[in-house]
C-alpha cells in the first residue's frame, strides 16, 4: 500500500452528545453501535436508536467527517435477522462504513449492499497479512483493525503486505489482548463480547464497601478487594487480583491503558491509515479530552514528523483519564524481542 497522506483519528461515541463532542473536538471519524447485541458495547442506556443515529450521521457528514457503525459481534443461532436488520439500517442511514467480524454478515453485506464499505473489526482477530488478504479477497474489505497483540515491527510488516488500509489502536483501556478469542467473561458469567456484546455484564457485577476494603464480585466470584487509596479498574476477570502460591497479585494483567502517542511518527511513516480511540462506554467529558489531545498531536506530527515531541501535559491528562492511572505501549513495544 502507498502511504496515506495523513492518519485518520477514529473516536468513540456511546451517545449522541459524545458523537457531537468528538466531531467538535476534531475527530475525522466517529464510530457507534445500535441498542442491541449487534455490537460489543451492549450496555443499558448506551448506544444509538435509529433517530439518534440519523441525527449523528447528519451532524458528522455535514461537517465533512465520517461515521462508522460497529456491528462487531457474531450473529447468534436463530437470530441472524437481528444482525442483517442492523446492517440494513446502517446502509439506509448512509454511513461511511460498517465494522464487522462475522464472515456470514460480511457475505450478506457484499450481496445486499455492494457499495457499502466494510472494515474488519478487531474482534475478527486477523493478525497476519495473509488473514487480512483473505478478507480482502472474499469480502472486499477496505480496512482492517489490528488486534493489540503485535509489536511495532510486526505492524509495519502487516501494513507493508496487506492489500488494504490498516487501522491500529492508539489509546484506551486494554484487555488481555486476545480480541475475539477471549472467553473469560463467558466462563464467569455465561455472557461475553462475541455472543451478547458485553464483557463482564453489569447485572453480574457487585461493588461493596466493607471493613476490609471495596470488594467487587463478578457473578458472586470475588475478583478484587481495593484497600483505601488503591486505584479501581473495570470489573473484569482478567484484571482481578488472585492468590497464587500465597501471593496476592494481578495474576493475569494489571489495570492499565494503552497510549501510543509517542509512536505517532513511526505509525505515520509506515503508512497506518487510522488510529482508533477506545471507549464507547465513556462519557462525553472523556471523549472531549482524548479527542482534543490526539487531534493536536496528529496535526503536530503530520506537519513536522521529525520535530514531533510528546508534550508532558498531553501525557498527564491522558494518564488521569486512564484505568489504573497508568499507560503502556502494550505489545507495540517489546524490549525482550
Amino acid at each position: 500500500m502507498t502511504a496515506p497522506k495523513r492518519i485518520e483519528l477514529v473516536c468513540p461515541a456511546g451517545t449522541l452528545p459524545a458523537l457531537k463532542t468528538a466531531i467538535d473536538h476534531g475527530a475525522d471519524c466517529v464510530y457507534f453501535g445500535f441498542r442491541n447485541d449487534t455490537n460489543a458495547r451492549n450496555f443499558g442506556g448506551l448506544n444509538f436508536d435509529a433517530k439518534a443515529a440519523a441525527e449523528g450521521v447528519r451532524y458528522a457528514q455535514l461537517r465533512g467527517r465520517k461515521v462508522l457503525v460497529a456491528l462487531n459481534t457474531y450473529a447468534q443461532p436463530g437470530a441472524f435477522e437481528r444482525w442483517t436488520r442492523a446492517l440494513d439500517l446502517a446502509a439506509d442511514l448512509g454511513v461511511d462504513a460498517v465494522i464487522l467480524a462475522d464472515p456470514g454478515l460480511m457475505r450478506y453485506a457484499v450481496e445486499r449492499h455492494p457499495d457499502l464499505r466494510l472494515h474488519l473489526s478487531v474482534q475478527g482477530s486477523a493478525t497476519t497479512y495473509e488473514a487480512i488478504n483473505f478478507y480482502v479477497r472474499h469480502f472486499a474489505i477496505k480496512r482492517a483493525v489490528l488486534p493489540r497483540v503485535l509489536s511495532l515491527a510486526q505492524v509495519e510488516h502487516v501494513v507493508g503486505s496487506a492489500q488494504t488500509e490498516i487501522e491500529v489502536f492508539g489509546f484506551g483501556s486494554l484487555c488481555v489482548m486476545v480480541e475475539g478469542r477471549c472467553a473469560l467473561s463467558s466462563y464467569t458469567t455465561g455472557e461475553g463480547p462475541n455472543t451478547v456484546g458485553v464483557c463482564s455484564p453489569a447485572k453480574a457485577v457487585r461493588w461493596q464497601d466493607t471493613a476490609d476494603g471495596l470488594e467487587v464480585r463478578l457473578n458472586e466470584v470475588l475478583i478484587d478487594r481495593f484497600a483505601t487509596g488503591d486505584k479501581a479498574g473495570y470489573p473484569t476477570l482478567c484484571k482481578g487480583r488472585y492468590v497464587v502460591r500465597d501471593d496476592t497479585h494481578y495474576a493475569i494483567e494489571e489495570p492499565t491503558s494503552l497510549n501510543t502517542l509517542e509512536l505517532l511518527p513511526q505509525l505515520l511513516q509506515m503508512g497506518v491509515a487510522a488510529v482508533k480511540i477506545e471507549g464507547r462506554q465513556r462519557s462525553p467529558a472523556y471523549v472531549a479530552a482524548v479527542t482534543r489531545i490526539w487531534r493536536a498531536a496528529i496535526d503536530a506530527c503530520t506537519a513536522a514528523p521529525s520535530r514531533f515531541a510528546v508534550r508532558d501535559a498531553w501525557m498527564g491528562e491522558l494518564a488521569n483519564l486512564s484505568e489504573g492511572r497508568q499507560t503502556t505501549l502494550g505489545a507495540y513495544h517489546r524490549p525482550w524481542r
Partner: protein
C-alpha cells in the same frame, strides 16, 4: 472537601425535605430532558445519592414521568456516593464518571446494571446551548 461549617449545617438538616425538593425538580425536568421512554426503562427502580462531605443524602424512586422522594433509611437498588464538588462536576459534564470511579472518588453500590443505565441515560441527554455557555464560564472560574 466542603468547608466545615457547611458540612456541619448540611449534615444536621433533615434528609427528607431535600429529597422532596430534589424529586420535584427532577420530576419537572427529567421527562422532557431525558425522555419518557428512557425513564420508563428504569421505572420502579430506587436510587440514593450520598454526598459524602456534606454528610447528607437523598433517595427517590422512578415512577411514570416523575420521581418519588423516599424517606432516609429506605432500602434502595443503587447508591451513588461522592463529594459535592465531584457531583457538581459530573452534572456540568466536566468530569468523566469512569475516571472518578478509577480514582475511588465515585462509588456505585447495589444494582450495578441500573446504576450504569442511569449514568448512560444522563450522558445521552443533549444539553441546551445556554448550558454550554454557563459551563464554559464555570470552567474559567470555579470547578
Amino acid at each position: 472537601m466542603l468547608p466545615p461549617l457547611v458540612r456541619a449545617v448540611a449534615s444536621r438538616l433533615p434528609a427528607f425535605p431535600p429529597a422532596v425538593v430534589c424529586a420535584l425538580t427532577l420530576s419537572l425536568f427529567a421527562p422532557r430532558v431525558v425522555g419518557r421512554d428512557a425513564l420508563a426503562t428504569l421505572e420502579g427502580r430506587t436510587f440514593r445519592i450520598v454526598v459524602r462531605d456534606a454528610g447528607t443524602s437523598v433517595a427517590f424512586r422512578i415512577a411514570p414521568e416523575r420521581f418519588v422522594p423516599l424517606r432516609p433509611g429506605h432500602a434502595v437498588d443503587v447508591t451513588f456516593t461522592a463529594n459535592a464538588v465531584d457531583f457538581l462536576r459530573l452534572a456540568a459534564r466536566r468530569a468523566d464518571p469512569d475516571t472518578l470511579f478509577f480514582d475511588r472518588r465515585l462509588l456505585i453500590e447495589g444494582d450495578t446494571e441500573a446504576g450504569l443505565q442511569l449514568k448512560n441515560m444522563l450522558d445521552a441527554v443533549e444539553l441546551p446551548r445556554w448550558f454550554s455557555g454557563i459551563r464554559e464560564k464555570q470552567g474559567r472560574t470555579t470547578f
